[in-house]
């Protein structure tokens, strides 16, 4: 099975986000960047499918040169090959722009792919757009937000999370699947894996190679402003006898907050 996994470099979830207002962008200095957590489930699922069915796992990231670090980590986890689609643009929050790059790369660079795996969303832009957009651009079926995946004989069955339950989706391959937490438990890199990953070459795919001219990828999303939300004020804290505090709290919820 030929599997492609798409990953994104993002600030880790413990990060405090600061904004640089003149560029309408987040301040990257001092942030620790990681593989977007949902993408790790996608990598793990690809490795497990390779272990069960054989094949090749290739990992691709679109972004700046710094993304090489997360690609190398995916190699250390056990991926066979990694590629960087080099895009020097700052974050555009435009999923279609990324999806067009990826779809073109799949067509031109990775023919014969059986399964395209993604995280359900990047932690950051939180768009949840790219997997379904790539599927549409390539005319492939999709299952997004998947917590269980079975693949056999050119078809897949996926369980996707919906409100208050799950939905089973039957897909023919090739297909696009996006991973939700719960799909698996991602493995740690081994020392051997880390050493081997260091020696691997990570080829760079340029936008020119994919046939994009300077204006072809102009973002459709116009950023008007980027801010941190107004900080909540800490409110009333009650201490003392549990029965008294419970009574007092309910009175406040009723008379002051008016939510009960």
């Amino acid at each position: 099975m030929n599997i492609l996994v798409f990953i994104k470099r993002v600030p880790d979830t413990e990060s405090k986000i600061r904004i640089r207002h003149e560029t309408k962008a987040i301040v990257e200095e001092g942030l620790n960047f990681v593989i977007s957590p949902y993408d790790e489930f996608a990598i793990e699922e690809a490795l497990r499918l390779r272990e069960a069915h054989g094949g090749v796992v290739r990992v691709v990231s679109a972004g700046k040169d710094e993304s090489v670090a997360v690609l190398r980590k995916s190699l250390a986890m056990g991926a066979d090959e990694a590629f960087l689609i080099k895009d020097a643009a700052p974050e555009t929050y435009d999923g279609l722009r990324t999806a067009r790059m990826i779809a073109r790369a799949v067509e031109r660079k990775f023919p014969g792919t059986d399964l395209l795996l993604f995280g359900k969303q990047s932690v950051g832009a939180d768009n949840s757009q790219v997997p379904a957009m790539v599927a549409e651009l390539l005319g492939l079926p999709q299952a997004t937000v998947v917590t269980k995946l079975e693949v056999a004989h050119g078809a897949a069955t996926a369980c996707r999370e919906i409100e208050g339950g799950a939905e089973k989706v039957a897909l023919s391959l090739p297909a696009v699947v996006s991973a939700q937490k719960g799909l698996n438990e991602p493995r740690y890199e081994t020392l051997k894996g880390i050493m081997a990953a260091k020696k691997k070459d990570i080829p760079v795919v340029t936008l020119e190679e994919l046939g994009f001219g300077a204006d072809d990828l102009a973002p459709q999303v116009e950023i008007i402003g980027l801010d941190v939300p107004a900080a909540r004020q800490s409110g009333k804290v009650l201490q003392g006898d549990p029965a008294d505090t419970a009574r007092e709290l309910v009175a406040l919820l009723r008379n002051e907050a008016k939510v009960v």
């Binding site: 950051g124 939180d126 790539v134 089973k168 459709q220 116009e222 950023i223 406040l252 939510v259």
Partner: protein, 325 residues
């Protein structure tokens, strides 16, 4: 004209789609245009009247036997074809499991941008201006779209429902041709969670537990508290989920769900930054924690410092009395 995709489940229009329609109606009034509802499926005309009651100026039903079961491919084909012909200024979806699955496909098919999970929509210079949390709420993006139609998904539970109006009108039915082989994936089965509780993203009241609960069995305390409210759900911190005490679908925070209920109880939740990101947009936050220094108290409107095992049952008792009045 602003169009809204009306999601149906179990033969009913979802509340979050009605919220999106209400918002469409308000913004369309500002723009001097109409708000229309679009249903997709097979034999769903009967649901059209509900959309009129919610304020729709028109209702379209895109019908084909091939659309009886939901498929992102089939639905996207129908909606994109309709939009190319009807040329709405905007198409809105609820940011539900289905909306988030479908809207990007429609956008890609139309070759237009999409704004996900909006918590605010305004009108600016004849266009829509969207506000949405990013980094799970650690930052807020305001943006518009250069492409047309403007596509967006709206977060459930944020946009108020409009007053029901006794309106009615003609439901316009369009037959959709879905070519053989155009749909290569479809939903074959819907599995309900046994407890059948509603999802945290749709709940108006959430009772969340963290490490302070000490074990999975103690989530029963939270379920009792939640059960006092209609449209309520039990949530959890990442550490409670990673300890295997409760399923990940209950997780609130940056690697879980971002929620905006009217009332959020954080019980035995210390308030790690990634949890706070996911729940800070709740309207009222109540914290119960034995540690007065816990970061959760910095965002809580009301807090009780105390032993949750004593406080929560007493709280449930008092709430029961108050709600019965």
């Amino acid at each position: 004209m602003i169009a809204v995709f009306m999601e149906t489940r179990d033969g009913k229009i979802k509340k979050s789609s009605l919220e999106a329609l209400s918002e469409a109606k308000r913004r369309a009034a500002e723009l001097g245009g109409q708000a229309v509802a679009v249903l997709v499926g097979s034999g769903v005309e009967g649901l059209g009247s509900g959309s009129f009651a919610a304020g729709a100026d028109g209702v379209y039903v895109l019908d084909s036997p091939a659309l009886a079961d939901y498929s992102a491919q089939g639905y996207a084909l129908a909606l994109a074809e309709w939009a190319a012909e009807a040329r709405p200024a905007a198409v809105l979806f609820a940011a539900t499991a289905m909306g988030r699955d479908l809207a990007p496909r429609v956008a890609a098919r139309l070759g237009v941008g999409l704004v996900s999970d909006c918590t605010g929509v305004a009108v600016m210079n004849g266009k829509l201006e969207f506000t949405r949390p990013i980094y799970a709420g650690k930052a807020v993006l305001t943006c518009s779209l250069r492409s047309s139609p403007q596509l967006a998904t709206l977060r459930p539970n944020v946009f108020p429902l409009g007053e029901a109006v006794p309106g009615a009108g003609e439901v316009v039915r369009k037959d959709v041709v879905v070519p053989d082989g155009a749909v290569k994936g479809r939903v074959t089965e819907v599995l309900k969670e046994e407890s059948c509780e509603i999802d945290v993203t749709e709940a108006e009241v959430i009772v969340s537990g963290g490490r302070g609960l000490k074990g999975p069995e103690n989530f029963a305390l939270l379920r009792e508290l939640a059960a006092l409210f209609p449209r309520s759900a039990v949530g959890a911190s990442r550490s409670a989920v990673d300890s295997g005490w409760i399923g990940h679908q209950h997780q609130v925070g940056q690697t879980g769900k971002t929620v905006s209920p009217s009332l959020y109880f954080a019980v035995g939740v210390s308030g790690a930054i990634q949890h706070l990101a996911g729940m800070s947009s709740s309207k009222v936050i109540v914290a119960v924690n034995k540690d007065p220094e816990a970061p959760i108290f910095k965002v809580a409107d009301y807090g009780i410092v105390g032993d949750l095992f004593q406080v929560v049952p007493l709280l449930a008792q008092e709430l029961k009395k108050a709600l019965a009045e």
